[in-house]
Every structure is written in C-alpha cells, then in structure tokens.
Amino acid sequence: MTGTHEAGVVSPSEHTPLVSGANGDIAADLDITNEQQLRYIAGQAADARVNIELETEGMTLNIGPQHPATHGTLRIVARLDGEQVISAEPIMGYMHRGYEKLTEVRTYPQVTTLINRIDWVGSFANEVPFILAAEDLMDVEAPPRAQYIRTALFEMGRIANIMLFLGDMPVQLGGVTAIFYAFRDREFVLNQIESATGGRFHPNFNRIGGVKDDLPAGWIKETKTAMQKVRDFCDEIEDLVMGNEIFQSRCRGVGIIPPDVGKAYGLSGANLRASGVDWDLRRDADSPLAWKDLDWKVWTHPDGDSFSRFWVRLQETRESSYMVEQLLDGLPSGPIMAKVPRIIKVPAGESYVQTENPLGAMGYYVISKGELTPFRVKIRTASFSNMSISPWLLEGVYVPDIATILASLYFILGDIDR
C-alpha cells in the first residue's frame, strides 16, 4: 500500500508499530495486530482493484469497423451491462464517397456509371430511378421492349441481392453452410446478367431513353433455367434454414419493429412489409417499367421480428423469379432505345423518382438547370433509413442478438454511406 512493497506482503522485520506501548509485551501484541490489520487492509484493496476491473456494468463493446458481421466497414459502439445492451450507436462514414458532390461534376451518362456502385450487390437496380427521373425531365419515354428488359434485369438484380442475404443471415447466426449454397446458386443469375450487360455487379446498361444493347441469343432460355435454379435454392433454404429450430429460436421475437415506428423512421422494403405494412412501390407507384403488366403478389408478414424479415425476403425472391419468367414470355419486339440527342442536356426542372430496390425504397431527386451535369442530386437510399432505427432497436437486447438484428435489417454499406 505504501508502494515500497507488494500489497499484502508485510515482512515482520520492516514494519513500525502503529501504536507504541510503554510495556514491551503489550507492544508485541499490538505489533501482531498491526500486521494482521495491514494484511487485511491490503487484501481488501486488492479485492477492490479486481472488482473494479471486473466491473461489467458500462462495459463498452466496439464492433468493427473490420468485422465479419457487417457488409463493409461499419462500426457499432455498444455499451453493455453484462450481457445486455444499454445503448448501441452505429458509426458510419468509412465508405463515404461523396456521391452527391460527385454527381454535380459528371454528365448524365457518367452519373449512371457512378451510381451503379451505391448498392453494389443490387447492381442494375441503382441506375433505374435516376434514369427514370432524367427521362421524366426530358420528356422521353423508353420503348416497351426496353422497359421489359429493364424490369427483367431489375428483378434479377433483386434476386442476386436477396440470395446473398438468404445465405448471409444464417452465417451471422453460426450456420456456415448456407452461404456457400447461396453463392453457388447466385452464380447462375450473375452469369445471365453478365451475358446481357457485360458486368456482373456493375452493369451500367441503362441509358436515358432505353437500354444499351439488345439481349444476346439464347439468353431467354438460359435465364429461365437460372430462374428454376433460384426456385430450387429457395426451397432448399426454406427447408434447411427456415425450418431449423435453432434458427427460429434465435430469430423469432427478436428485434420487433412496430409498423408505426418503422414508418416514422422511414423504413422501407422487406423491413416494413415484415411488420405487416402492405406497401410495395412496384405496385403502388406509377412507373413506366413493366410491373403493372405482370401477375404477382406482395408478401407481408404480421410479426415484425427478424424471422419475418427473412421469411418475406425469401418469398419475394421466389416471386421475382416468376416475374422474370413472365417478363421474358411477354417480351415485346421493337427498338430498345428512343430517339435522344447525342449530347444529353436535360431541361431545367426537378424530378423525384423512387423505386422498390432490393434493399428498400431508393429515390433520386434530380434538380437540373439545363446543363450537361445535374445541379443537385439528392440520393435517398434505403439502408440509410433502415439503419437509422438501429439505436432504437438495439436497446435492451442481448449481445448475440445484435448480430441477428443487424443481419435481418440487411444493409449494404455503400447504400448507407453513398
């Protein structure tokens, strides 16, 4: 305690008696008591030090930025009380690329190349709202064949994206096998996207007024085979993962989002549909793409927990595969590009188009001054709003549930950070 010797170790020869008595015997007695007293106090101090170090209240757990549980570099700072989370705060920005500033210096075709990379797994779906907004301002309408091709590629982007989710969420929970199946079966879809557009992840296929090229020969037949494989995969996952009791016990009742809270935070896509809100921009928004010609169904689930988010996405994938087949069956013939000038100058105006992207509702608010470049593009991404609910949602859950909830919300870092 005095610092000159180890706490608790008092060598008899060194101590000085705290109380000196006139009588040697009494002094001798008191010396022993001194030593015991010192030992006792030293022992208490050592215990106290250990107790403070072992203090589990208010322990801060730092998850990330490099971390297997997050799709990219996201940092979550969680204050814990033993096993329970008191507060959890996501810290993002590690992937912020400044898209909104970049769009101000790029011409419209260049912007298309750029925004492919916002949600890099949903490939084609990122370009569509922007192109639709620009077409709206230019008062150009793409021919029907181009709209059908766009819709087909959009849905295939959705399938590729959600298949990754279906494999990734079990991995977050510890079941390592599902993700290999997901990546294996995703290859078929990505191969099809690549053979049509030239890029697996970043197709850059949309042009203002239509699409860049027509479909290659044999594509329709191969894509139908790929869609069948997607459906087989969905059946397999339904059996292997959703039917697994451990998966269900980890996910059911975890991370329940009431629908009005979800709406106030701007949640969209499967996250909101899993809370029972029947809203799908493919059906409800007025869009030139071909969804209104198809016969399909919007899937909702009343529970609002992590399991229902998984369930809704699985059903959506299957539904998308049917939609792609219908699109390919009904593909109209005709040109694939409307007449647009070579140098694209979008007339002055403002336009906002929002579509049902794989991750949620993605929108582009394009403000144009009639120049080669947009004046301001506000990119409304789904994962940004989806993640904004996580501080509210992660309060009071157990530490393992953080992984479950984040996995079920399904965000892509590029979508949050832009």
Partner: protein, 337 residues
C-alpha cells in the same frame, strides 16, 4: 497387454514407455484423421466446394503444412498476462484428453489399464478440461477473454450433468462401471446398447457436442464480437495445442461413445474373446469412432448456434430431466425383466 499381444515379457518400465508411445499415437492419429476427413473434406463437400487440394494428393498433407505453420510462429504472451497460467492452460486441456484414452478397450486384451471404475474415471477426468479453459480465459488478462472463458465454463459445467447421467443408463444395463465389462455385456446381450438406450445416446451426443464447444453450442468460441473468446490471445504452438485438443477430445469422446453405445471393438457374429480380435479390435473401434465423429461434425456444419441463455435452458430444463427419466425407465426395465 504386451505379454499377450506379442508374447513377450518385458520389464514394467519398458511396457509403460511403450504404452505411453502407443497412447500418444492412439490419440494423435485419429485426431489427424478426423481433421483431414471431416474438417477439410467433409465440411468442404457439404458446402459444395473442394477443400484443400494442393498440398499432397487431394490435400492429404495439409495437416502437415498447418503443423509446420503453427510451429514457426512467434510465441506471444500478452503483456500483463499471468505467464504460468496462460502458458499452462493448453497443456491442462490436453492432459485430460490423453488421460481419457487410458480406459478405452480396443480388444479383449488390448487396453492400457483395466480399471474397475473405467467410465467413472473417464467422466471425472474429462471435467479437468474446464479448468484449462478457465485458465486460458483468466490468464489472457483481457476482459473479453475472461467473459468468453466464464461463458465457456458455464456451458461446460452445465452439460457435464447430462453427459454423466446419460452414461448411467448404460451402466445400469451393463451392471458394471468397467469399460471392458460394458463391451462384454453388449456382446452377451447380442444387441448394442444404442437400441435400448436410444434416448441416452441422443443425450450423450448433444452433451458431447456441447462439451466440445462445437456449433450449435459454440457461443463462447465463435461469437463474432468476442473474436474467439478465451482463445483470442493464443497464437502459434499454444493455439495449435488447443486446436489439437479440440479434435483429440472429439476423437476420444467418439471412441467412448462407440464403446458405450455401439459395442466397442466387437463385431456381431464374431466371438468376442477370439484372439484375432486383439488385432482387429482397434480397427473396428476406429471405424465406429469415425462414424460417431461423422455425426458430431455433421451437426457442427449444419446448425446455427444457440444463444447463451437458450443453451443453458436446453441443458438444465430439458436434457437433465430427460436423462433422469431415462435412468428411471432403464432401472425399472432392468429390475422387472
């Protein structure tokens, strides 16, 4: 053992040294086989990929390569770690595994030690590994390792009970704690204990999965936030020792399960006391061990992991009552029939 097997009569110390050597081989060889067969190959094939293929034909030398890799790594001690506790932890875990193999009978006369309380000794010794894990968690001087170690210790202690209780059913049916006696009882009855003791077998497998901290019970180890829990600070040889310990324990527990439930080294329709069984017995036991290990690793690859509280609930509220009921039913049947 050597006197009957090789018709020699060596002095005691020669026999002991030989047994030690054979014991080491008996643990490490199946461990290596398990790692290659199940971790590298079966896991890969089930995940629709090939696994290591470059090192040796079909990746058979991968284990050697991993061994060499771990050997040449730096032996790191965290700065404020308790050096003795930190360093001794992997050895404590390994010691309990190597001691377990002592009571495994591999033939009518092929055994290391013929203990009358064989299975009791095995269960007791296997608990020692819990101390090793706590030592690893404490000695790392890191809050997260300590939490991981405590979680692991809680899980292991919770699943000790179903493990032991599931064995009690077998013991009641065999009427003896002696491992050789249990094998002999299965040979006498004509059926392996897995059939009457199917519930006991199920509990045993679940408890073994938890004792090995394999998925679905690997929350202490594989929780992504805690890196690898109590193993976080270990690297190089010490990590290799833990790794070997995990698979060696899997091998030995599989062998114990094979002895208790699958008839050990006996083959049906072959006389259990034939001299030839001294040489074939180990091979038969190895085959059965591989089968049970296959089950363990199959579950490992397939299932997601339990949350800590769900895990404890499973042990205390489901497995223990079930195993007690199993004991009661077994005892009734034993007395009545």
């Amino acid at each position: 053992m050597l006197s009957t097997l090789l018709a020699l009569n060596p002095p005691y110390w020669v026999e002991t040294l030989t047994k030690i050597g054979i014991g080491l081989v008996a643990v490490l060889l199946p461990t290596g086989a398990l790692v290659y067969l199940f971790l590298f190959k079966m896991m890969s094939f089930m995940q629709s990929r090939l696994g290591p293929m470059e090192t040796g034909p079909y990746g058979q030398l991968q284990l050697l390569a991993e061994f060499g890799k771990f050997l040449q790594k730096e032996d790191i001690f965290p700065s404020k770690a308790d050096r003795f506790v930190f360093g001794a932890a992997p050895f404590v875990v390994l010691v309990s595994t190597f001691l377990l193999v002592l009571v495994l009978p591999a033939g009518p006369d092929t055994h290391f030690v013929d203990l009358n309380t064989g299975i009791y000794f095995a269960m007791a010794v296997s608990s020692v590994s819990v101390i090793g894990i706590l030592m690893a968690g404490w000695g790392s001087n890191s809050k997260y390792s300590l939490l991981g170690g405590i979680r692991a210790a809680g899980q292991l202690i919770a699943y000790e009970l179903p493990l032991v209780l599931s064995v009690v059913g077998v013991v009641i049916m065999a009427g003896t704690l002696n491992m050789k006696g249990i094998v002999a009882a299965q040979a006498d009855f004509g059926i392996w204990f897995i059939i009457p003791q199917i519930i006991g077998f199920f509990i045993f497998m679940v408890a073994v999965q938890a004792e090995l901290t394999q998925p679905p019970f690997d929350m202490p180890v594989a929780e992504s936030e805690l890196v690898t829990g109590y193993l976080t600070e270990y690297s190089g040889i010490r990590f290799l020792l833990f790794f070997i310990g995990e698979f060696a324990t899997a091998a030995v527990f599989s062998a114990i399960g094979a002895t208790l439930f699958l008839g050990g080294w006996t083959i049906p329709f072959v006389d259990a006391n034939a001299a030839i069984m001294d040489y074939i017995g180990p091979l038969v036991l190895a085959a059965k061990m591989i089968f049970i290990a296959f089950l363990i690793f199959w579950f490992r690859i397939t299932f997601p992991r339990f949350r800590e509280d769900q895990l404890q609930r499973l042990a205390w509220k489901f497995l223990i009552p079930l195993s007690l009921a199993n004991i009661v039913v077994t005892a009734i049947f034993k007395v009545v029939f």
